[in-house]
């Protein structure tokens, strides 16, 4: 049937064309990114403008009051500092511990090291929400509720296995000849590790550090369960300062949203490769 053949040929040409790809992707991104853009714009609106119908998209007058109010007049700066302290401490602990662990498991195999590597990966199946309950009992008993230390410990638990797994993979792919020749030249095992292996696996370590930072910065469940006051409250919980039972202060909320999304956006733009490498680490070998 030539008629259908012609139609299917045209259809195929449309599918084949790169213009179609650009159009489809462009349309999806328009929908996908509009909430982000609206959040950004709304942070610069006046509270009255957010109540208008029809809603505005671009602010009628650019107003910095929401930002000023959030910075000088709320608990948000404390929450940002808390988030930074918790995230950076977690990153430091996880990166150092995971590097040593992964190198030991990858390079100097011993009986059971393979099983240990895989069981680290298997811990990811354990749902953190189930462990909230025993953690709650344990930390209440230890008097460690409402402390930044608690959140650091819990975020280390959440991130250490995946980062170790990522680094095991990086060390496994490290060429053995380089290590052997360093050893033959008289370098000790420690020197080989610090001066030969580490400098060349620094991208994987950076990937681990970045995903740990992002996961910790965005973590909500444990933050909600284990903080009650601003002393330990990170940004993901602090944001609820502007959410009342009836009224939500949208301009301020959006201003906080800009702060909350900023670290990730910066990483996505300037270090996207590392983010992707970090996230897909567990997927490579199953």
């Amino acid at each position: 049937m030539p008629e259908t053949k012609k139609i299917s040929g045209a259809f195929n040409r449309i599918l084949e064309s790169y213009i179609t790809v650009y159009v489809v992707l462009g349309a999806i991104f328009l929908v996908l990114l509009s909430p982000l853009v609206l959040m950004f714009f709304t942070a610069f609106k006046t509270p009255a403008e957010t109540e208008m119908w029809p809603p505005t998209i671009v602010p009628l007058d650019v107003d910095f009051e929401a930002f000023a109010d959030v910075i000088f007049n709320s608990k948000i700066p404390t929450a940002i500092v808390n988030s930074l302290v918790i995230s950076l401490s977690t990153v430091a602990i996880v990166v150092v511990a995971a590097t040593f662990t992964a190198y030991g498991l990858s390079r100097y195999k011993y009986r059971g090291s393979r099983v240990l590597s895989y069981s680290l990966l298997a811990t990811r199946i354990i749902p953190p929400i189930s462990l909230t309950i025993p953690f709650f009992a344990i930390f209440a008993w230890l008097g460690l509720v409402n402390k930044k230390l608690t959140l650091i410990i819990l975020n280390v638990y959440l991130n250490y296995p995946i980062v170790t797994w990522l680094l095991i993979d990086a060390f496994n792919r490290f060429p053995n000849q380089l290590i052997d020749s360093a050893r033959i030249d008289g370098a000790t095992r420690n020197q080989t590790f610090f001066y030969v292996v580490l400098p060349l696996t620094v991208t994987a370590i950076a990937a681990g550090a970045i995903i740990t930072f992002l996961f910790t910065w965005n973590e909500f469940l444990y933050a909600l369960t284990f903080t009650q006051t601003e002393a330990a409250m990170p940004l993901t919980v602090g944001i609820f300062e502007f959410v009342g039972d009836e009224v939500v202060e949208w301009t301020r909320l959006c201003a906080v949203g800009v702060f909350a999304s900023l670290p990730s956006i910066i990483f996505f733009i300037f270090a996207q490769r590392y983010v992707v490498q970090g996230l897909t680490a567990g997927a490579i070998k199953e």
């Binding site: 195929n12 084949e16 790169y18 650009y22 489809v24 999806i28 996908l32 990114l33 909430p35 982000l36 609206l38 959040m39 208008m52 119908w53 029809p54 995971a98 662990t101 992964a102 190198y103 030991g104 498991l105 100097y108 011993y110 090291s113 240990l116 680290l120 199946i125 354990i126 749902p127 929400i129 189930s130 462990l131 909230t132 309950i133 025993p134 953690f135 009992a137 344990i138 280390v156 250490y160 000790t188 095992r189 020197q191 910065w217 909500f220 469940l221 909600l224 369960t225 940004l235 993901t236 944001i239 949208w250 949203g257 909350a260 999304s261 996505f268 983010v275 897909t280 997927a283 199953e286």
Partner: protein
């Protein structure tokens, strides 16, 4: 060069020395709570009355609670909704970006594709609550303009649509998340295969069905696994949108746990629900990994 320090231990002991301290610490941090979770489920543990062993009383209480089947059903719909919406979009986006390869704007597009993932999930819930608001929401305004409806929809005021609202907010974050996994798998496909197929006269659809899909299969399954696992166990979006309401329309199993734990302070019953979540996720993961391994 620094002074050489000779530690006369074997390579295997060197490996143990490097790895065991961290592993021990983390296993204590994981294994002890898992054991304690099981112990808790047999205890009356409520910070008021003294701790006591109650046998299977917590289990019988939870299993006879009408909220359990409801929470499981809600969670299943939620997980399925979030995963399938994200899968459709993530597949389309990944395939588009894969087709573009190194062409113009591909770097920009790749960044744009993952940008929503920058927003903390809990914040995404709040943003969507605002976009869908009946009185001031932009999405509602657009909805009235585009569709024949003339009245804004109060999506969270209605128990049938509320679940759809929370699914949207979560899927918005999961689309870029899943795209990362699927795109990584598609990027591993050798471009020569497409050229060879084109010479043989394969259409775009055939190439997609017979080259792209089968060769990125494991990345896709992994994306499904991890997205479903996360939506089964995370409550961020629901907490910031509805906290389980209206009524119990969005009563995710995570909210059920937090209710028992933080509002009722009944850790024994909460532990039983925690075990149920644990079992569900383990079974699901095992099934998905088996599917991935099957060739």
């Amino acid at each position: 060069m620094k002074k050489k320090t000779h530690i006369n231990i074997s390579d295997a002991w060197y490996g143990r020395l490097l790895s065991l301290p961290g592993i021990t610490f983390v296993f204590l941090l994981i294994v002890l709570p898992v054991i304690f979770l099981i112990v808790l489920s047999f205890l009356r543990y409520n910070f008021v009355t003294p701790v006591a062993f109650v046998g299977f009383k917590n289990f019988s209480n939870i299993f006879s609670d009408r909220l359990l089947p409801h929470a499981l059903k809600t969670t299943a719909i939620y997980t399925f909704g979030v995963t399938s919406i994200s899968l459709i979009f993530a597949l389309t986006i990944s395939y588009g970006l894969h087709r573009l390869g190194q062409r113009r704007f591909s770097t920009l597009f790749r960044t744009l594709a993952i940008l929503p993932f920058a927003v903390p999930l809990v914040l995404s819930g709040l943003i969507w609550r605002w976009l869908l608001d009946p009185a001031i929401g932009v999405m509602n305004y657009l909805f009235i303009q585009i569709t024949p409806f003339t009245e804004p929809i109060n999506i969270f005021g209605n128990s049938t649509t509320a679940l759809l609202g929370v699914i949207l907010a979560d899927a918005w974050i999961k689309i870029p998340f899943m795209t990362i996994f699927i795109l990584a798998a598609m990027d591993g496909i050798n471009q020569n295969l497409y050229e060879a197929a084109a010479i043989d006269g394969a259409t775009t659809v055939t190439k997609f069905l017979h080259i792209t899909l089968p060769l990125s299969r494991n990345g896709i399954i992994y994306g499904i696994l991890i997205t479903a696992m996360f939506s089964f166990r995370t409550i961020d979006a629901i907490w910031s949108m509805t906290r389980g309401g209206p009524g119990k329309a969005t009563y995710h199993i995570g909210i059920y746990i937090l209710d028992r734990m933080l509002s009722l302070m009944d850790l024994g019953q909460a532990a039983v629900i925690g075990i149920i979540v644990f079992v569900c996720i383990s079974c699901f993961s095992a099934a998905m990994i088996a599917w991935m391994k099957r060739d």
